[in-house]
């Protein structure tokens, strides 16, 4: 309900404020350095990824620990089609759909044999799939060099629309935009797209089917939902978004190597979804932004704080940073088990004991 209200005229003020904040943000950040715009970009990229995963985990209730695989497929698709590696330089409107399609195929490939598995079995299989994809990318440089192995692919083209390149500075309407700032707006646009898709799905027939499966698969089957196909669709949709995010990542970085797609990334994205509030779009956004920013913020906060408290730096700030990150995960789950910003709908629909069940 609440989300729908967002789009009603009543909360135009809210939307307006968000819009202003989103537009002003890259300029405010730039005063502190382009590095902060870049951090914001990664935060939005994570929002995008987390919302994609939210379709799978939050809406359909399928525990996917290998989401990064689709991101990797998208990134490599971009890298192979727009870099000197194969000498291909396809335009963005061709690569992004191809990347999404490849990731989608990967999602179906993974999904079709495994979706009948119970929750935790599915978790370990998807986790394994993520590793399989990474290891293949790491090794497909022989006998035929496809991915260039661990060396990665470099000199990847930036996003280009016509003659307008997203890399480097350019001036629009008398306003000078840096590369990261341009990517920022691209990412915000993409994030808005995935938010709209998420919203539309949530209240659609498919969305309700997903929720039915999430709450009780047997009952869902009993009322005539083709659970297998509907689950597969969730996987495919989530994977496509992962693929698009991967493409943008490759273009933004200009370099991809298998190192970027390790298991811990999948875990991070899942943590964002759960920490923020599964299935609740604003919650997932919050979770993604927090987890993407927290390590960076701690980078600056930890050492000065120790100075202040003990007069000297006792423990390496870098080691403390991850420690605090872990602690934050545990504490939030302890005191807000449904996430920082859980969906209010559950209560409204009169499910007093939302036992999503021990699988």
């Amino acid at each position: 309900m609440s989300i729908k209200n967002w789009l009603l005229p009543r909360s135009t003020v809210g939307i307006g404020l968000i819009a202003i904040a989103l537009i002003a943000l890259p300029f405010a950040l730039a005063t502190g350095g382009q590095a902060w715009v870049r951090i914001a970009n990664f935060a939005i990229l994570y929002v995008f990824l987390a919302l994609g995963l939210n379709i799978v985990v939050g809406l359909a209730g399928l525990l996917d620990l290998g989401y990064i695989a689709f991101y990797a497929v998208g990134a490599y698709t971009w890298a192979l089609l727009a870099s000197p590696h194969f000498g291909l330089h396809l335009p963005v409107w061709a690569i992004l759909p191809i990347g999404a399609a490849c990731a989608c195929v990967a999602g179906v490939l993974l999904g079709s044999p495994t979706l009948k598995l119970r929750g935790d079995y599915l978790a370990i299989v998807t986790l394994g799939f993520g590793e399989i994809v990474r290891i293949f990318m790491n090794n497909l440089n022989a006998p035929i060099n496809i991915t260039n192995g661990a060396q990665g692919i470099t000199l990847i083209d930036p996003v280009k629309i016509g003659d307008f390149s997203f890399a480097g500075n350019s001036t629009i309407f008398g306003l000078t935009l840096s590369g990261p700032q341009k990517y920022y707006f691209l990412l915000v646009a993409l994030a808005l797209l995935v938010i709209v898709v998420n919203l539309r799905l949530q209240n659609s027939r498919i969305g309700r089917a997903w929720q039915a499966i999430r709450e009780d698969e047997i009952a869902a089957k009993a009322v005539g939902i083709n659970t297998r196909n509907v689950k597969l669709l969730a996987f495919a949709m989530g994977a496509s978004f992962g693929g698009i995010a991967g493409g943008v990542f490759a273009a933004m970085q200009g370099f991809v190597s298998p190192e970027s797609f390790s298991l811990i990334e999948s875990v991070m994205i899942l943590a964002m979804v759960v920490l923020g509030g599964m299935g609740h779009i604003p919650g997932v956004i919050l979770g993604a932004v927090l987890l993407a920013i927290l390590p960076e913020a701690l980078r600056y906060g930890v050492a000065p704080l120790q100075q202040l408290l003990f007069g000297k730096v006792l423990v390496d700030p870098e080691s403390l940073r991850m420690l605090i990150f872990g602690l934050a995960l545990v504490l939030v789950m302890r005191f807000k088990p449904a996430g920082l910003w859980p969906a209010p709908e559950r209560k409204a629909h009169g499910n007093p004991n939302p036992e999503e069940g021990r699988a």
């Binding site: 404020l17 005063t31 350095g33 590095a35 914001a40 920013i293 913020a297 980078r299």
Partner: protein
């Protein structure tokens, strides 16, 4: 009402966390002087250094940073003058966690801070994506440890390296294997950019020299168990096992070779030429070979002294790349001195023309920014110590001798630290 509030809350939280962080950062670079505006008696020269300070390679990252720190402190103690003003160097240490994504974020941070130059990164995997940012910003970058050839082959004029790359090293190792009388060899690599690159070059050189590669096996940079692949290698009975990878795998690997009764010798690159390898390999490390770019510290005029200085200052031994990182800083300072400016645009051309007699080598760059004629030295573990065997490849060995006589009275930008003490 509630939704409105939550919507607001989101935008406010998002905007504030972000901008708050942004402002905090603002304070720091405010002190940064415009490079080149050196009318005052003192110029502040800020040099960025990037290496992983967390994660499995943190010990190497710390070692690199120590090397850079030592150089910076010596430069400051020397009271170097650049363009008529006394130069004060400052090191901005950053952690890239050996993660390419962090690597570019940190690089952007250094670009924002308008550093005069960057030393690093440690890993090729982070150096390569970061080098694009430095190139776009025109900031010279000198790495003392990223040995992947790709780094200098991207056409970036700002990318330099003071260490022999994997191609140079792999080639020499292949030649050495033949010289040792090996006829058949098994090649193992850890599937990292470094290990794979080194092993591929080794394989090429070995095969070109008539060696038979009887097995190619693979592991990863987190593995501890190599028995399965070693058993397979045993069945092919090679004379030599070559490993492209790091000490944390190499050490246990030689141990497991001994346990399986494999008699073949073990040969590796700079990744296994560390005290750590000996510690982890124990008795099994005895008699094994490894290589280091450049010449042994002991053989170099300034080598033993550097070792002492380093040990005295940091209370710990040199892990691996510290001397190269030290040289990287010195080479950069040398170019600034010759250009009479710390402005990247002004001293970058000079960097390419470097001819600097450093701790590790006589540093000259080829057209790619790679170390010219990088010599590679081979060592053998004997009696719990690394023993120098020989130096191969490159004309650098005699050149160093000759160059010393030649350049001694000439620029000698940084007086040998000996003069100072």
């Amino acid at each position: 009402m509630q939704p409105k509030i939550s919507a607001l809350a989101l935008s406010v939280v998002a905007a504030f966390t972000l901008s708050a962080c942004g402002q905090k950062e603002e304070v720091k670079p405010a002190a940064a002087p415009a490079p080149g505006a050196a009318q005052k008696s003192e110029t502040l020269i800020r040099i960025g250094h990037v290496a992983p300070m967390t994660g499995p390679q943190a010990h190497l990252g710390k070692d690199n940073e120590n090397g850079a720190r030592l150089a910076i402190e010596e430069l400051n103690a020397l009271g170097l003058e650049i363009g008529g003003a006394k130069a004060r160097f400052e090191l901005l240490g950053e952690d890239d966690q050996a993660d390419p994504k962090q690597g570019t974020t940190v690089a952007q941070k250094l670009v924002d801070a308008k550093v005069n130059g960057v030393i690093g990164h440690l890993n090729s995997g982070t150096t390569i994506p970061a080098s694009k940012l430095y190139f776009d910003a025109g900031i010279p970058q000198v790495s003392g440890s990223a040995t992947n050839p790709t780094y200098t082959r991207q056409g970036f004029k700002t990318a330099f390296r003071v260490m022999a790359n994997d191609v140079q090293q792999g080639k020499v190792l292949g030649e050495f294997a033949v010289k040792q009388g090996a006829r058949s060899v098994a090649v193992v690599d850890d599937r990292t950019a470094y290990g794979q690159g080194l092993a591929d070059e080794f394989r090429k050189a070995a095969e070109a020299a008539g060696l038979k590669v009887v097995a190619s096996e693979y592991t990863n940079d987190k593995a501890t168990d190599f028995k399965a692949i070693l058993t397979k290698i045993k069945s092919k009975a090679p004379d030599l096992i070559f490993f492209g990878g790091m000490d944390a795998q190499g050490g246990p690997m030689v141990k497991q070779m001994a346990e399986l009764g494999i008699k073949a010798r073990f040969l590796g690159g700079d990744g296994v030429c560390t005290p750590e390898f000996m510690k982890l390999g124990g008795e099994a490390a005895e008699g094994q070979y490894c290589s280091l770019p450049g010449q042994p510290l002991e053989k170099l005029a300034k080598g033993p002294e550097f070792k002492d200085k380093f040990a005295k200052k940091f209370n710990t031994g040199i892990q691996l790349y510290a001397p190269y990182v030290y040289d990287a800083v010195m080479v950069m300072a040398d170019a600034m001195k010759r250009a009479g400016s710390a402005d990247p645009a002004k001293y970058l051309p000079e960097l390419g023309k470097t001819r600097y007699d450093g701790v590790t080598a006589l540093v000259e760059f080829d057209e790619f920014g790679d170390l010219k004629g990088g010599a590679i030295s081979l060592y053998q573990y004997k009696g719990g110590k690394l023993e120098y065997v020989e130096t191969l490849g490159g004309a650098a060995a005699p050149a160093t001798e000759a160059a010393k006589a030649e350049t001694a009275p000439a620029p000698a930008v940084t007086p040998a630290p000996a003069d100072k003490k």
